[in-house]
């Protein structure tokens, strides 16, 4: 059996499928409970109780929501382009899932341990904008279209500084492989020497996932719900799940790039099976910051958002990139100095 799984082509396919299931099922559970955690955290911060009726402490609330979504009717507006209208949520959800193929939750525990892991993640996250644009256009309605345009501009702007931040990390590692990036942080996590980049990266991920205070593509008070205004039932649920899966993905990226992935803090010697637990704990901390930010800051205005992206983050990350490269070169710390 082991031989079949590891040494034949068909076995390899089956093994990969099994791995994908082993990753996606807990991931979807996490997504479900992230929505619950968000409502609980927001509730606590606003001195409310949050969901507390369905099940003990409201723990079954996500399932109740999911069942409700499934029972509703999928409405396709008569003026919409039906193919693209339905393609958009699938695209958003699918992209949020396939990015997980390269995320290592423990040493070598990625489904695909590829050489260009960071670039793959960057590519997939830059595609997220298509779900939004296509849904906005296919809905054939004013507010979704406005939301789509806003998000296109926003996501493209913040990708630039995110790219520079990643390049900084790559310079320190000397590889694009995610496994190697984590292993390079054994002495010190990158969030300490690259602290400003860490902050910029975190804020850019907020913008990239359309979370508050950068949620202008949704902007309830201005354009109702933005790009997914016309969606209902499962199509809406896919957008919703995609957004939260993206949040977890971004948190994992932050963990891998800056918080030492599965490595224990302060070099505490722990058995290697603890790796995923550290990883999840770090993810939870980053996600808590996501929720905290949402409860704390008011939404940016469009021009302020553009100013922050282009006039503050871009020059600063460029400057810091040159600084990091200079320091590495001057002290002979460059990895791969061949």
């Amino acid at each position: 059996m082991i031989d079949f799984l590891f040494n034949t082509t068909l076995g390899f396919f089956i093994l990969t499928l099994l791995k994908a299931f082993a990753l996606l099922v807990p991931l979807l559970m996490c997504v479900a409970y992230l929505t619950y955690a968000e409502r609980k955290v927001l509730g606590a911060m606003q001195m409310r109780k949050g969901p507390n009726v369905v099940g003990p402490f409201g723990l079954f609330q996500p399932f109740a929501d999911a069942i409700k979504m499934l029972m509703k009717e999928t409405i396709i507006p008569s003026g919409a382009n039906p193919v693209l209208f339905l393609l958009a949520p699938m695209l958003t959800f699918g992209l949020a899932m396939i990015a997980w193929a390269v995320i290592p939750v423990n040493d070598g525990w990625a489904i695909a341990d590829i050489n260009v892991g960071v670039l793959y993640l960057f590519a997939i996250s830059s595609l997220g904008v298509y779900g939004v644009i296509i849904s906005g256009w296919a809905s054939n309605s004013k507010y979704p279209f406005l939301g789509a345009l806003r998000s296109a501009a926003q996501m493209v702007s913040y990708e630039v500084s995110m790219g520079f931040v990643m390049v900084c990390v790559l310079l320190c590692v000397g590889s694009l492989n995610l496994n190697k990036i984590v292993m390079a942080q054994q002495t010190i996590w990158f969030c300490i020497p690259l602290f400003p980049m860490f902050v910029i990266f975190f804020i850019s991920t907020l913008a990239e996932t359309n979370r508050a205070p950068f949620d202008i593509p949704e902007g309830e008070s201005e354009i109702v719900a933005g790009f997914f205004l016309e969606y209902s039932a499962m199509a809406f649920a896919l957008f919703f799940l995609g957004e939260y899966a993206n949040m977890i993905l971004m948190a994992s990226m932050t963990t891998i790039l800056f918080l030492g992935g599965w490595l224990p803090p302060f070099g505490i010697p722990t058995p290697s099976w603890m790796g995923p637990i550290w990883f999840i704990l770090k993810d939870c901390v980053v996600l808590f910051f996501f929720l905290w930010t949402r409860a704390t800051f008011p939404r940016y205005r469009y021009d302020q958002l553009m100013r922050l992206g282009w006039k503050v983050f871009l020059p600063f990350s460029l400057f810091y990139l040159v600084l990091v490269a200079g320091v590495l070169l001057a002290f002979g710390w460059l990895p791969h100095a061949a």
């Binding site: 050489n115 670039l119 960057f122 590519a123 830059s126 595609l127 904008v129 256009w137 345009l149």
Partner: protein, 230 residues
């Protein structure tokens, strides 16, 4: 076997979507097919073992260029009849360009087919043990640094050109100057008014002092920070 199947699958989708780009009636569909085409080209790169190029193709073309394309095409109000009008006139030009590209591809393929040893005389020798990202970097930043920097300069000029063409002064718009907003104090922006019982306050009380910025917009840059007293 699987690699060959994957190649034919991606190549077929690539050609199919390329045809759809030029024949689709709706320009937005054209751009979406273009994106599908990019994707399949990236997949072909992957099959050829050029993972860096594949990812860069997706990041740059699909993630940035095509987004802006889509952005523009969605905003434009395109008249289809007018667009089709020039088809006959421009067809020879397009056919010529296409034929030239085909010829070039044929030459490359022919060289590869009939003189396999020619690969050894390439300008860029292949370093076998390096993965291809590091490989590209080592060539690009050493042997080809001049060309690399020149192409960077060309892009810089294009960028400056685009900014110069689109930047215009929109007259008296109220720009938000964040540094000034942060620097100002409560005493500069607020006036405490004693409101007498029974009479209240009139405009003369709370608009005092009247902000200078409202009268002379451009002369006093620091007169009264922002537009206090509204």
């Amino acid at each position: 076997m699987i690699a060959a199947l994957a190649f034919y699958l991606f190549a077929a989708i690539l050609i199919g979507s390329a045809v759809m780009v030029v024949t689709a009636r709706n320009p937005v569909h054209s751009v979406l097919f273009l994106i599908l085409g990019f994707f399949n080209a990236a997949a072909l790169f992957l099959l050829a073992g050029a993972e860096f190029l594949a990812m860069i193709l997706v990041i740059v073309y699909v993630g940035a260029v095509a987004v802006l394309f889509l952005f523009v095409v969605m905003m434009l109000d395109i008249n289809f009849a007018q667009m089709r009008e020039g088809f006959q006139r421009y067809a020879p030009v397009g056919a010529t360009v296409g034929a030239m590209l085909l010829l070039e591809l044929g030459i490359v393929l022919g060289g590869w087919k009939f003189a396999p040893d020619a690969a050894n005389f390439r300008f860029a020798p292949r370093i076998a043990e390096l993965e291809n990202t590091a490989h590209l970097g080592q060539l690009l930043y050493t042997d080809y640094i001049l060309l690399f920097q020149l192409s960077g300069l060309v892009l810089l000029v294009a960028m400056i050109g685009a900014i110069v063409l689109t930047l215009r002064d929109r007259g008296p718009s109220r720009r938000q100057i964040i540094a000034r907003q942060i620097a100002r104090k409560a005493s500069e922006t607020m006036v405490m008014v004693d409101a007498p019982i029974g009479t209240g306050v009139g405009a003369a009380d709370y608009l005092h002092p009247i902000p200078e910025a409202a009268e002379k917009p451009d002369t006093h840059e620091h007169a009264h920070a922002g537009h206090g007293g509204h």
